[in-house]
Amino acid sequence: MDIGRTSIYGRVAGHDAWTRLSPPEFVSPIPDSFFSPLVQHYFGLSPVGPVANRTRVGVVITIDPRKVPEEEVKNAKQWLSARLKESGCDDSVLRITQEVVTFRRSDGAEIAVRSENDKIFDLH
Protein backbone atom coordinates (compact mmCIF):
# COMPACT_ATOMS: atom_id res chain seq x y z
CA MET A 1 0.00 0.00 0.00
CA ASP A 2 1.08 3.60 -0.60
CA ILE A 3 0.67 6.71 1.52
CA GLY A 4 1.79 10.26 0.80
CA ARG A 5 3.54 12.33 3.46
CA THR A 6 5.70 15.39 3.90
CA SER A 7 8.89 14.75 5.84
CA ILE A 8 11.78 16.85 7.04
CA TYR A 9 15.37 15.71 6.78
CA GLY A 10 18.59 16.99 8.26
CA ARG A 11 22.07 16.22 6.97
CA VAL A 12 24.05 14.10 9.39
CA ALA A 13 26.90 16.27 10.69
CA GLY A 14 30.18 15.34 8.99
CA HIS A 15 28.55 12.94 6.55
CA ASP A 16 26.87 13.20 3.18
CA ALA A 17 23.73 11.43 4.35
CA TRP A 18 20.25 12.60 5.28
CA THR A 19 18.29 11.54 8.34
CA ARG A 20 14.53 11.87 8.78
CA LEU A 21 13.74 14.09 11.76
CA SER A 22 11.07 13.24 14.33
CA PRO A 23 8.27 15.84 13.99
CA PRO A 24 7.35 16.04 17.74
CA GLU A 25 10.99 16.51 18.74
CA PHE A 26 11.77 18.98 15.98
CA VAL A 27 8.86 21.37 16.55
CA SER A 28 8.67 21.12 20.38
CA PRO A 29 7.30 23.10 22.30
CA ILE A 30 4.87 23.58 19.42
CA PRO A 31 2.42 20.64 19.69
CA ASP A 32 3.02 18.02 16.99
CA SER A 33 -0.55 18.47 15.71
CA PHE A 34 0.71 21.71 14.10
CA PHE A 35 3.53 19.94 12.25
CA SER A 36 1.58 19.20 9.06
CA PRO A 37 0.29 22.76 8.45
CA LEU A 38 3.72 24.18 9.25
CA VAL A 39 5.59 21.87 6.92
CA GLN A 40 3.03 22.29 4.14
CA HIS A 41 3.86 26.00 4.25
CA TYR A 42 7.59 25.14 4.27
CA PHE A 43 7.87 26.91 7.64
CA GLY A 44 7.26 30.17 5.78
CA LEU A 45 10.59 29.81 3.91
CA SER A 46 9.13 29.43 0.45
CA PRO A 47 6.16 31.22 -1.09
CA VAL A 48 3.08 29.03 -1.37
CA GLY A 49 0.56 29.57 -4.17
CA PRO A 50 -3.08 30.59 -3.60
CA VAL A 51 -5.03 27.99 -1.62
CA ALA A 52 -8.40 26.97 -3.09
CA ASN A 53 -11.07 25.85 -0.61
CA ARG A 54 -14.19 24.18 -1.99
CA THR A 55 -17.22 24.70 0.23
CA ARG A 56 -20.04 22.16 0.66
CA VAL A 57 -22.26 24.17 -1.70
CA GLY A 58 -19.64 23.99 -4.41
CA VAL A 59 -18.33 27.54 -4.12
CA VAL A 60 -14.56 27.75 -4.39
CA ILE A 61 -12.91 30.37 -2.20
CA THR A 62 -9.32 31.13 -3.12
CA ILE A 63 -7.15 32.58 -0.41
CA ASP A 64 -3.81 34.22 -1.07
CA PRO A 65 -1.40 33.19 1.66
CA ARG A 66 0.28 35.90 3.67
CA LYS A 67 3.49 37.20 2.10
CA VAL A 68 6.40 36.60 4.46
CA PRO A 69 8.87 39.52 4.62
CA GLU A 70 12.59 38.84 4.20
CA GLU A 71 13.39 39.69 7.83
CA GLU A 72 10.88 37.06 9.06
CA VAL A 73 12.37 34.44 6.72
CA LYS A 74 15.79 35.19 8.22
CA ASN A 75 14.43 34.65 11.76
CA ALA A 76 12.74 31.41 10.70
CA LYS A 77 16.03 30.16 9.26
CA GLN A 78 17.79 30.91 12.56
CA TRP A 79 15.06 29.03 14.48
CA LEU A 80 15.25 26.02 12.18
CA SER A 81 19.03 26.09 12.26
CA ALA A 82 19.00 25.90 16.08
CA ARG A 83 16.60 22.94 15.92
CA LEU A 84 18.83 21.10 13.47
CA LYS A 85 21.82 21.62 15.73
CA GLU A 86 19.86 20.26 18.72
CA SER A 87 19.00 17.19 16.61
CA GLY A 88 22.70 16.58 15.95
CA CYS A 89 22.50 17.58 12.29
CA ASP A 90 24.32 20.04 10.08
CA ASP A 91 22.62 23.34 10.94
CA SER A 92 23.05 24.89 7.50
CA VAL A 93 20.61 22.86 5.45
CA LEU A 94 17.07 21.52 5.77
CA ARG A 95 15.29 19.25 3.29
CA ILE A 96 11.50 19.18 3.06
CA THR A 97 10.26 16.31 0.94
CA GLN A 98 6.88 15.26 -0.34
CA GLU A 99 7.21 11.52 -0.64
CA VAL A 100 5.26 8.33 -1.12
CA VAL A 101 5.82 5.50 1.34
CA THR A 102 5.11 1.97 0.21
CA PHE A 103 4.40 -0.27 3.19
CA ARG A 104 3.38 -3.81 3.95
CA ARG A 105 -0.17 -3.98 5.32
CA SER A 106 0.50 -7.05 7.49
CA ASP A 107 3.10 -5.42 9.75
CA GLY A 108 3.42 -1.80 8.64
CA ALA A 109 7.06 -2.20 7.53
CA GLU A 110 8.23 0.51 5.10
CA ILE A 111 9.26 -1.23 1.88
CA ALA A 112 10.20 1.83 -0.17
CA VAL A 113 10.15 5.60 0.02
CA ARG A 114 9.82 7.52 -3.26
CA SER A 115 10.54 11.23 -3.27
CA GLU A 116 8.10 13.27 -5.39
CA ASN A 117 9.12 16.83 -4.61
CA ASP A 118 12.29 17.84 -2.82
CA LYS A 119 13.05 21.31 -1.52
CA ILE A 120 16.41 21.95 0.05
CA PHE A 121 16.76 25.15 2.05
CA ASP A 122 20.08 26.81 2.71
CA LEU A 123 19.72 28.21 6.21
CA HIS A 124 22.83 30.41 6.19
Binding site: P23, L38, P65, W79, D107
Partner: protein, 393 residues
Protein backbone atom coordinates in the same frame (compact mmCIF):
# COMPACT_ATOMS: atom_id res chain seq x y z
CA UNK B 1 -48.25 32.97 10.29
CA UNK B 2 -48.98 33.74 13.95
CA UNK B 3 -50.16 30.18 14.47
CA UNK B 4 -46.91 28.86 12.96
CA UNK B 5 -44.83 31.08 15.22
CA UNK B 6 -46.82 29.98 18.28
CA UNK B 7 -46.33 26.35 17.21
CA UNK B 8 -42.57 26.85 16.85
CA UNK B 9 -42.37 28.73 20.14
CA UNK B 10 -44.32 26.04 21.99
CA UNK B 11 -42.17 23.23 20.56
CA UNK B 12 -38.95 25.07 21.36
CA UNK B 13 -40.13 25.51 24.95
CA UNK B 14 -40.84 21.78 25.19
CA UNK B 15 -37.46 20.90 23.67
CA UNK B 16 -35.53 23.25 25.99
CA UNK B 17 -37.44 21.93 29.00
CA UNK B 18 -36.49 18.42 27.97
CA UNK B 19 -32.83 19.44 27.52
CA UNK B 20 -32.82 21.14 30.93
CA UNK B 21 -34.22 18.00 32.58
CA UNK B 22 -31.55 15.89 30.85
CA UNK B 23 -28.56 18.08 31.70
CA UNK B 24 -29.44 19.49 35.14
CA UNK B 25 -27.17 18.77 38.08
CA UNK B 26 -27.34 19.77 41.74
CA UNK B 27 -25.37 22.78 43.01
CA UNK B 28 -23.33 20.68 45.43
CA UNK B 29 -22.13 18.42 42.62
CA UNK B 30 -21.24 21.46 40.53
CA UNK B 31 -19.32 22.95 43.48
CA UNK B 32 -17.32 19.75 43.89
CA UNK B 33 -16.82 19.58 40.13
CA UNK B 34 -15.44 23.15 40.21
CA UNK B 35 -12.64 22.03 42.56
CA UNK B 36 -11.97 18.97 40.41
CA UNK B 37 -11.98 21.16 37.28
CA UNK B 38 -9.52 23.65 38.79
CA UNK B 39 -7.10 20.98 39.99
CA UNK B 40 -7.40 19.15 36.67
CA UNK B 41 -6.56 22.33 34.77
CA UNK B 42 -3.60 23.15 37.01
CA UNK B 43 -2.20 19.66 36.56
CA UNK B 44 -3.14 18.50 33.08
CA UNK B 45 -4.26 21.43 30.95
CA UNK B 46 -2.62 24.54 32.32
CA UNK B 47 -2.98 27.62 30.12
CA UNK B 48 0.15 27.70 27.98
CA UNK B 49 0.39 29.82 24.84
CA UNK B 50 3.48 31.88 25.71
CA UNK B 51 5.65 29.84 23.33
CA UNK B 52 3.86 31.29 20.31
CA UNK B 53 5.53 34.60 21.20
CA UNK B 54 8.90 32.88 20.59
CA UNK B 55 8.23 31.12 17.29
CA UNK B 56 9.25 32.93 14.09
CA UNK B 57 6.70 35.31 12.61
CA UNK B 58 7.10 33.45 9.31
CA UNK B 59 4.93 30.67 10.83
CA UNK B 60 1.99 33.07 11.21
CA UNK B 61 -0.89 31.63 9.20
CA UNK B 62 -4.17 32.67 10.89
CA UNK B 63 -7.55 31.20 9.94
CA UNK B 64 -9.41 33.62 7.62
CA UNK B 65 -12.40 33.99 9.94
CA UNK B 66 -10.55 34.74 13.15
CA UNK B 67 -9.62 37.66 15.32
CA UNK B 68 -5.95 36.85 14.71
CA UNK B 69 -6.35 37.57 10.98
CA UNK B 70 -6.71 41.25 11.93
CA UNK B 71 -3.19 41.22 13.40
CA UNK B 72 0.07 41.28 11.43
CA UNK B 73 1.75 38.51 13.47
CA UNK B 74 2.14 36.73 16.79
CA UNK B 75 2.07 39.04 19.83
CA UNK B 76 5.36 39.56 21.70
CA UNK B 77 6.48 36.90 24.18
CA UNK B 78 6.01 39.11 27.26
CA UNK B 79 2.37 39.73 26.35
CA UNK B 80 1.59 36.04 25.81
CA UNK B 81 3.45 35.19 29.04
CA UNK B 82 1.44 37.80 30.97
CA UNK B 83 -1.75 36.36 29.48
CA UNK B 84 -0.75 32.86 30.60
CA UNK B 85 0.08 34.00 34.14
CA UNK B 86 -3.22 35.86 34.48
CA UNK B 87 -5.07 32.77 33.26
CA UNK B 88 -3.19 30.45 35.64
CA UNK B 89 -4.12 32.60 38.65
CA UNK B 90 -7.72 32.88 37.45
CA UNK B 91 -7.83 29.06 37.53
CA UNK B 92 -6.43 29.16 41.09
CA UNK B 93 -9.17 31.65 42.11
CA UNK B 94 -11.85 29.47 40.50
CA UNK B 95 -10.53 26.38 42.33
CA UNK B 96 -10.57 28.14 45.68
CA UNK B 97 -13.90 29.77 44.90
CA UNK B 98 -13.27 33.51 44.87
CA UNK B 99 -15.47 35.49 42.48
CA UNK B 100 -15.84 32.31 40.46
CA UNK B 101 -18.37 33.61 37.95
CA UNK B 102 -16.35 36.69 37.05
CA UNK B 103 -13.07 34.72 36.95
CA UNK B 104 -14.57 32.01 34.71
CA UNK B 105 -15.91 34.52 32.19
CA UNK B 106 -12.62 36.45 32.07
CA UNK B 107 -10.62 33.19 31.83
CA UNK B 108 -12.71 31.94 28.91
CA UNK B 109 -12.53 35.23 27.02
CA UNK B 110 -8.75 35.48 27.53
CA UNK B 111 -8.40 31.87 26.39
CA UNK B 112 -10.45 32.47 23.24
CA UNK B 113 -8.15 35.40 22.48
CA UNK B 114 -4.90 33.53 23.24
CA UNK B 115 -5.93 30.45 21.28
CA UNK B 116 -6.70 32.58 18.25
CA UNK B 117 -2.95 33.14 18.07
CA UNK B 118 -2.12 29.52 18.88
CA UNK B 119 -4.35 28.35 16.03
CA UNK B 120 -2.54 30.80 13.75
CA UNK B 121 0.11 28.09 13.45
CA UNK B 122 -2.24 26.70 10.81
CA UNK B 123 -4.75 24.40 12.53
CA UNK B 124 -7.77 24.70 14.83
CA UNK B 125 -7.64 22.17 17.68
CA UNK B 126 -10.40 20.46 19.64
CA UNK B 127 -10.15 22.10 23.05
CA UNK B 128 -12.73 24.79 22.27
CA UNK B 129 -15.46 22.59 23.80
CA UNK B 130 -13.70 22.67 27.16
CA UNK B 131 -13.85 26.48 27.27
CA UNK B 132 -17.35 26.72 25.81
CA UNK B 133 -18.64 24.38 28.54
CA UNK B 134 -16.72 26.31 31.23
CA UNK B 135 -18.33 29.52 30.01
CA UNK B 136 -21.76 27.89 30.40
CA UNK B 137 -20.84 26.76 33.92
CA UNK B 138 -20.20 30.39 34.85
CA UNK B 139 -23.96 30.89 34.68
CA UNK B 140 -24.69 28.04 37.11
CA UNK B 141 -24.12 27.79 40.88
CA UNK B 142 -20.73 26.13 40.54
CA UNK B 143 -19.17 29.07 42.39
CA UNK B 144 -21.53 28.83 45.37
CA UNK B 145 -20.90 25.61 47.36
CA UNK B 146 -17.42 24.91 48.76
CA UNK B 147 -16.31 28.42 47.82
CA UNK B 148 -14.18 30.76 49.93
CA UNK B 149 -16.11 33.78 48.67
CA UNK B 150 -19.34 32.29 47.27
CA UNK B 151 -21.02 33.86 44.27
CA UNK B 152 -24.60 35.08 44.48
CA UNK B 153 -26.96 32.24 43.55
CA UNK B 154 -28.45 32.38 40.07
CA UNK B 155 -32.05 31.77 39.16
CA UNK B 156 -32.48 27.93 39.00
CA UNK B 157 -34.02 28.36 35.54
CA UNK B 158 -30.89 30.19 34.33
CA UNK B 159 -28.61 27.51 35.81
CA UNK B 160 -30.63 24.73 34.17
CA UNK B 161 -30.59 26.57 30.82
CA UNK B 162 -26.81 27.09 31.08
CA UNK B 163 -26.16 23.36 31.60
CA UNK B 164 -28.59 22.53 28.80
CA UNK B 165 -26.66 24.93 26.56
CA UNK B 166 -23.44 23.12 27.49
CA UNK B 167 -25.08 19.85 26.45
CA UNK B 168 -26.24 21.37 23.16
CA UNK B 169 -22.74 22.70 22.42
CA UNK B 170 -21.22 19.25 23.00
CA UNK B 171 -23.89 17.65 20.81
CA UNK B 172 -23.40 20.28 18.11
CA UNK B 173 -19.61 19.81 18.14
CA UNK B 174 -19.92 16.06 17.71
CA UNK B 175 -22.75 16.30 15.20
CA UNK B 176 -20.79 18.59 12.87
CA UNK B 177 -17.75 16.29 13.09
CA UNK B 178 -19.95 13.26 12.40
CA UNK B 179 -21.76 14.95 9.51
CA UNK B 180 -18.47 15.75 7.78
CA UNK B 181 -17.30 12.16 8.28
CA UNK B 182 -20.62 10.73 7.06
CA UNK B 183 -20.13 12.45 3.71
CA UNK B 184 -16.74 10.80 3.19
CA UNK B 185 -16.73 7.62 5.28
CA UNK B 186 -20.13 6.09 4.57
CA UNK B 187 -19.58 4.11 1.40
CA UNK B 188 -19.07 0.50 0.40
CA UNK B 189 -15.56 0.98 -0.89
CA UNK B 190 -13.51 -1.38 1.28
CA UNK B 191 -10.25 -0.12 -0.20
CA UNK B 192 -10.64 3.18 1.68
CA UNK B 193 -11.18 3.74 5.34
CA UNK B 194 -11.75 6.74 7.57
CA UNK B 195 -10.05 5.36 10.65
CA UNK B 196 -7.23 3.79 8.67
CA UNK B 197 -6.52 6.97 6.69
CA UNK B 198 -6.02 8.76 10.02
CA UNK B 199 -4.04 5.89 11.45
CA UNK B 200 -1.62 5.68 8.53
CA UNK B 201 -1.11 9.46 8.63
CA UNK B 202 -0.35 9.40 12.36
CA UNK B 203 1.89 6.33 12.04
CA UNK B 204 3.99 7.40 9.05
CA UNK B 205 3.99 11.20 9.39
CA UNK B 206 3.90 11.90 13.13
CA UNK B 207 5.51 8.59 14.23
CA UNK B 208 2.66 7.82 16.64
CA UNK B 209 3.50 4.17 17.34
CA UNK B 210 2.83 3.66 21.04
CA UNK B 211 0.32 1.61 23.08
CA UNK B 212 -1.86 -0.62 20.88
CA UNK B 213 -1.09 1.16 17.58
CA UNK B 214 1.13 -1.70 16.23
CA UNK B 215 -1.79 -4.13 16.61
CA UNK B 216 -3.84 -2.24 14.01
CA UNK B 217 -1.82 -3.89 11.20
CA UNK B 218 -2.90 -7.34 12.43
CA UNK B 219 -6.60 -6.52 12.27
CA UNK B 220 -8.48 -7.02 8.95
CA UNK B 221 -9.22 -3.61 7.32
CA UNK B 222 -12.88 -4.62 6.85
CA UNK B 223 -13.33 -4.49 10.62
CA UNK B 224 -12.23 -0.87 10.65
CA UNK B 225 -14.82 -0.11 7.96
CA UNK B 226 -17.46 -1.31 10.42
CA UNK B 227 -15.88 0.89 13.08
CA UNK B 228 -16.07 3.86 10.67
CA UNK B 229 -19.85 3.40 10.43
CA UNK B 230 -20.08 3.03 14.21
CA UNK B 231 -18.03 6.21 14.75
CA UNK B 232 -20.28 8.19 12.38
CA UNK B 233 -23.43 6.83 14.10
CA UNK B 234 -21.99 7.73 17.49
CA UNK B 235 -21.04 11.27 16.46
CA UNK B 236 -24.43 11.91 14.87
CA UNK B 237 -26.35 10.60 17.88
CA UNK B 238 -25.83 13.09 20.77
CA UNK B 239 -28.92 15.20 19.98
CA UNK B 240 -31.10 12.08 20.10
CA UNK B 241 -29.58 11.09 23.45
CA UNK B 242 -30.00 14.61 24.82
CA UNK B 243 -33.68 14.52 23.95
CA UNK B 244 -34.12 10.91 25.10
CA UNK B 245 -33.43 11.78 28.73
CA UNK B 246 -30.92 11.72 31.57
CA UNK B 247 -30.02 8.02 31.36
CA UNK B 248 -29.52 8.06 27.56
CA UNK B 249 -27.35 11.18 27.80
CA UNK B 250 -25.13 9.62 30.45
CA UNK B 251 -24.87 6.43 28.40
CA UNK B 252 -23.74 8.59 25.48
CA UNK B 253 -21.15 10.33 27.70
CA UNK B 254 -19.84 6.92 28.76
CA UNK B 255 -19.61 5.76 25.14
CA UNK B 256 -17.87 9.04 24.25
CA UNK B 257 -15.25 8.46 26.95
CA UNK B 258 -14.66 4.89 25.68
CA UNK B 259 -14.42 6.31 22.14
CA UNK B 260 -11.64 8.67 23.29
CA UNK B 261 -9.98 5.82 25.15
CA UNK B 262 -9.90 3.82 21.90
CA UNK B 263 -8.46 6.86 20.07
CA UNK B 264 -5.80 7.13 22.74
CA UNK B 265 -4.87 3.44 22.48
CA UNK B 266 -4.98 3.03 18.70
CA UNK B 267 -4.39 6.48 17.19
CA UNK B 268 -2.26 7.82 20.07
CA UNK B 269 -4.36 10.98 20.25
CA UNK B 270 -4.74 11.90 23.93
CA UNK B 271 -8.23 13.37 24.35
CA UNK B 272 -7.85 14.08 28.08
CA UNK B 273 -9.17 17.61 27.49
CA UNK B 274 -12.65 16.10 27.18
CA UNK B 275 -12.74 14.80 30.77
CA UNK B 276 -13.81 18.22 32.18
CA UNK B 277 -16.33 18.48 29.32
CA UNK B 278 -18.24 15.32 30.30
CA UNK B 279 -18.07 15.38 34.10
CA UNK B 280 -20.27 18.46 34.83
CA UNK B 281 -23.23 16.16 34.15
CA UNK B 282 -22.17 13.63 36.80
CA UNK B 283 -23.60 13.84 40.33
CA UNK B 284 -20.23 14.41 42.04
CA UNK B 285 -21.96 14.68 45.42
CA UNK B 286 -22.71 10.95 45.13
CA UNK B 287 -18.99 10.28 45.73
CA UNK B 288 -18.86 12.51 48.81
CA UNK B 289 -21.80 11.44 50.95
CA UNK B 290 -25.50 12.20 50.65
CA UNK B 291 -26.85 14.09 47.67
CA UNK B 292 -29.45 15.95 49.67
CA UNK B 293 -27.13 18.07 51.87
CA UNK B 294 -27.99 21.74 51.32
CA UNK B 295 -25.55 24.24 49.87
CA UNK B 296 -25.15 26.19 53.12
CA UNK B 297 -24.58 22.95 55.04
CA UNK B 298 -22.07 21.87 52.38
CA UNK B 299 -20.03 25.03 52.96
CA UNK B 300 -20.14 24.47 56.74
CA UNK B 301 -18.93 20.85 56.59
CA UNK B 302 -16.26 21.45 53.96
CA UNK B 303 -13.37 20.19 56.05
CA UNK B 304 -10.79 20.02 53.25
CA UNK B 305 -11.03 23.69 52.30
CA UNK B 306 -7.53 24.44 53.63
CA UNK B 307 -5.78 21.60 51.73
CA UNK B 308 -7.54 22.65 48.51
CA UNK B 309 -6.45 26.27 48.94
CA UNK B 310 -2.86 25.29 49.76
CA UNK B 311 -2.61 22.84 46.83
CA UNK B 312 -4.08 25.31 44.33
CA UNK B 313 -1.73 28.11 45.45
CA UNK B 314 1.32 25.82 45.39
CA UNK B 315 0.47 24.67 41.85
CA UNK B 316 -0.14 28.26 40.71
CA UNK B 317 3.18 29.37 42.23
CA UNK B 318 5.05 26.42 40.67
CA UNK B 319 3.66 27.25 37.21
CA UNK B 320 4.57 30.91 37.70
CA UNK B 321 8.13 30.00 38.67
CA UNK B 322 8.47 27.68 35.65
CA UNK B 323 7.17 30.36 33.27
CA UNK B 324 9.37 33.11 34.72
CA UNK B 325 12.40 30.87 34.19
CA UNK B 326 11.52 30.81 30.48
CA UNK B 327 10.00 27.32 30.45
CA UNK B 328 6.43 26.15 30.55
CA UNK B 329 4.16 23.23 29.99
CA UNK B 330 0.46 22.58 29.95
CA UNK B 331 0.77 19.01 31.24
CA UNK B 332 2.28 18.04 34.61
CA UNK B 333 5.16 20.53 34.16
CA UNK B 334 6.66 18.20 31.51
CA UNK B 335 8.75 20.05 28.91
CA UNK B 336 10.21 18.81 25.63
CA UNK B 337 9.29 15.96 23.35
CA UNK B 338 8.69 13.52 26.25
CA UNK B 339 5.42 15.40 26.73
CA UNK B 340 3.94 13.35 23.85
CA UNK B 341 4.43 9.90 25.42
CA UNK B 342 3.79 10.95 29.04
CA UNK B 343 0.52 12.71 28.15
CA UNK B 344 -0.56 9.62 26.24
CA UNK B 345 -0.06 7.22 29.17
CA UNK B 346 -1.49 9.59 31.80
CA UNK B 347 -4.50 10.38 29.64
CA UNK B 348 -5.34 6.66 29.67
CA UNK B 349 -5.64 6.82 33.45
CA UNK B 350 -7.67 10.04 33.30
CA UNK B 351 -10.09 8.68 30.72
CA UNK B 352 -10.55 5.44 32.68
CA UNK B 353 -11.25 7.50 35.81
CA UNK B 354 -13.80 9.57 33.86
CA UNK B 355 -15.47 6.42 32.49
CA UNK B 356 -15.66 4.87 35.97
CA UNK B 357 -17.23 8.01 37.46
CA UNK B 358 -19.83 8.21 34.69
CA UNK B 359 -20.53 4.46 35.00
CA UNK B 360 -21.04 4.66 38.78
CA UNK B 361 -23.34 7.65 38.37
CA UNK B 362 -25.25 5.84 35.63
CA UNK B 363 -25.57 2.62 37.63
CA UNK B 364 -26.78 4.48 40.72
CA UNK B 365 -29.28 6.37 38.61
CA UNK B 366 -30.61 3.23 36.92
CA UNK B 367 -30.95 1.37 40.24
CA UNK B 368 -32.64 4.48 41.73
CA UNK B 369 -35.12 4.50 38.85
CA UNK B 370 -35.83 0.78 39.33
CA UNK B 371 -36.43 1.26 43.05
CA UNK B 372 -38.72 4.18 42.35
CA UNK B 373 -40.71 2.19 39.78
CA UNK B 374 -40.99 -0.78 42.17
CA UNK B 375 -42.21 1.42 45.00
CA UNK B 376 -44.62 3.34 42.77
CA UNK B 377 -46.14 0.02 41.63
CA UNK B 378 -46.90 -0.93 45.24
CA UNK B 379 -48.10 2.51 46.39
CA UNK B 380 -48.82 5.96 44.98
CA UNK B 381 -46.15 8.35 46.36
CA UNK B 382 -47.37 11.06 48.72
CA UNK B 383 -45.11 13.63 47.15
CA UNK B 384 -45.37 13.91 43.39
CA UNK B 385 -41.90 15.51 43.30
CA UNK B 386 -40.19 12.49 44.87
CA UNK B 387 -39.25 10.75 41.59
CA UNK B 388 -35.77 9.44 40.77
CA UNK B 389 -34.75 12.72 39.21
CA UNK B 390 -35.63 14.56 42.39
CA UNK B 391 -33.66 12.08 44.49
CA UNK B 392 -30.58 12.94 42.43
CA UNK B 393 -30.81 16.63 43.22
Amino acid sequence: MTKSLIFIERNLTIIWQRLEDTCSNDARSLGLFRIFWGMYMLLFFTPYCAFVGQVPQAFYNPPVLSLASLFPGFPPYWLMLAGDLVRIWLVVLITIGIKTRFCTIVLCLLTFLSENFLYSLGKINHDILLWAVALCLAFTDWGVPYALVPDRRVNPKTAARALATAGVLIAFGFFTAGFEKALRWINFDLSTGGFLSWFYGDWYVLDRRLLLAPLVFRVPPQLFKILDYAAVAFELSPFFCLLAGRTAWRVWLLVATCFHLANDLLLNIPFYTHVPVYLPFVAFARFFGRLTVGVSAANAVFSWRVPVIICAIILGAAHTAQRLKGGGSSFLFVEGASFVSISLYVSLVLLVLCAVMIAIDLTARISGTRLYRASSRSAVPDDARSGPDMADR
